[in-house]
């Protein structure tokens, strides 16, 4: 998950650590064996997610904060210092409306 410069450049603004992202109604995240990937499905389209994106998206349940998502991924995969990368991806996904923030 290191050095994801493209995601950060595309996303721009940072996301607050206490924000609670969720997958909007009408969108579905699922594992597709045929495509060997998690895909995000929406009206008449899909995006293929890589492993990092899937790890983040699958934790965006509207309950957990960005900080909790970061901590959970770091714990699960014995990583550290991924907060900026996670924040950049969440910002990108918000801009594309793959995610929305819950109060």
């Amino acid at each position: 998950m290191s050095g994801d410069g493209a995601g950060r450049a595309a996303a721009g603004a940072a996301v607050a650590a206490d924000a609670r992202p969720a997958i909007p109604r009408g969108l579905k995240l699922q594992w597709e064996a045929a495509q060997e990937a998690h895909v995000l499905l929406f009206p008449e389209g899909q995006v293929l997610l890589n492993g990092s994106a899937a790890e983040i998206m699958s934790r965006c349940d509207g309950m957990r904060t960005v900080a909790e998502i970061v901590a959970d991924i770091e714990r699960t995969h014995s990583l550290s210092g991924i907060a900026d990368d996670v924040g950049a991806f969440v910002a990108l996904a918000l801009a594309k409306r793959w995610l929305e923030l819950r109060p």
């Binding site: 994801d4 045929a34 499905l41 929406f42 008449e44 899909q46």
Partner: protein
């Protein structure tokens, strides 16, 4: 965890990820721009519920995940809820593509319970007069009520409006209507000239000035609603100088099944001569997708002619649309004449020039509304 780009926007090539089931050609509307084949009344009997369910299972096993339920008007099928429930259990993302006619509260509740993911509602225009004229029905108020139901049942509001010369000047009003209805997505799809739309092309092709005004209005609107609404403007390819990458190449990602079970690599492909499209009553989908001559016909580049076969852009647009090549030039293997490199490009520019002349006055032939009786009168192509 990988350090690659977070998402890959491209669809993986080679799997029939997009399955379109045209459940019926029956439709209460009579739209002049319908892409259904003009000879639809001469096609075979509709598949039974059990056939559709077998198709869903076989396609899912091949990797299909986006499911379009269309027609005709799919709500005419009384087994729609059964088909949706099976598709949901199989893990499809289910899109209902409808005119809204027949979508009562009882049915939308049942469809929601069955697992329907999304409803795309079509409008013909922002005014009752033109909506009802273009569809030859009184459906405008009904559609507005259906839009309310879609919102009430917490579906994303996705509106589709087919644009052409008769309504393209109303784009501002159409977008305002969509905004009032709470639409999240609006697809302004310029007519593609197949089926009934091909018969009516002289009436429907807009002038370049109309198109440019509509694009400017759309751009302005899009900037105003950024972040709340997505507006797609599908440009009519007759005004382009390069062809669309139709279906990302035939047989690469898209699989359509017609009401009588014919499997097609694009909705309109049934018109292509000399190709025997297989039927799901006789073959399983794996054999159809991977092994049939029909689905392999336009894969790769061996079928291409010049100027496509040596063109540096052939892997980008795959020579454009085979159906358009056939309709305009009589040979489906020719370059799509939308391309300015095609020796037949003058056929497209002539149609556009004719639209320029016709834009101020009436076209000579009458508009032909999609109709069962007229369909019987139209000579089948094969």
């Amino acid at each position: 965890m990988s350090a690659a780009l977070p998402v890959t926007p491209e669809l993986r090539r080679g799997l029939p990820l997009w399955l379109l089931l045209e459940l019926t050609y029956r439709c209460p509307l009579h739209c002049v721009f319908c892409y259904n084949p003009t000879e639809f009344a001469a096609t075979g009997a509709e598949l039974a519920t059990a056939d559709w369910i077998r198709v869903l299972r076989e396609a899912r096993a091949l990797g299909a995940v986006q499911l379009g339920l269309s027609g005709g008007e799919p709500l005419v099928r009384e087994d729609l809820e059964t088909i949706v429930a099976e598709a949901h259990a199989l893990g499809y993302y289910i899109n209902l593509i409808t005119s809204g006619v027949g979508l009562t509260e009882e049915r939308i509740r049942a469809l929601k319970a069955a697992g329907l993911d999304h409803i795309q509602l079509s409008f013909q225009d922002s005014t009752r007069e033109l909506n009802d004229f273009l569809s030859s029905t009184r459906t405008f108020e009904l559609k507005a009520r259906v839009a309310e139901l879609i919102r009430k049942y917490d579906y994303p509001m996705v509106l589709n409006v087919v644009l052409h010369r008769l309504n393209i000047d109303h784009v501002g009003e159409i977008l305002a209507m969509a905004e009032r209805m709470g639409a999240g997505y609006v697809e302004l799809a310029n007519t593609q000239y197949y089926g009934w739309a091909w018969l009516n092309r002289a009436h429907l092709l807009p002038s370049r000035a109309q198109l440019e005004r509509a694009e400017a209005v759309t751009r302005e609107f899009r900037a105003r609603v950024a972040g709340r609404m997505d507006v797609y403007f599908v440009v009519p390819d007759y005004f382009e100088t390069r062809p669309k990458a139709c279906m990302n190449g035939l047989g690469s990602v898209f699989l359509a099944i017609t009401p009588d079970g014919t499997a097609l690599p694009c909705h309109a492909a049934r018109m292509l001569p000399g190709i025997d499209f297989p039927n799901v009553r006789e073959h399983d989908l794996r054999a159809i997708w991977y092994d049939s001559a029909a689905f392999n016909h336009f894969r790769g580049e061996a079928w291409m002619k010049e100027p496509c076969s040596s063109c540096p852009e052939r892997q980008r647009d795959f020579g454009g649309c085979r159906c358009q090549a056939y309709l305009l030039t009589g040979d489906a293997a020719n370059a799509d004449p939308v391309c300015e490199l095609s020796p037949h490009h003058h056929l497209v520019t002539a149609a556009v020039a004719q639209a320029e002349r016709a834009a101020d006055g009436a076209a000579r032939a009458p508009l032909i509304f999609r109709d069962h009786r007229i369909s019987i009168a139209v000579e089948p192509r094969r």
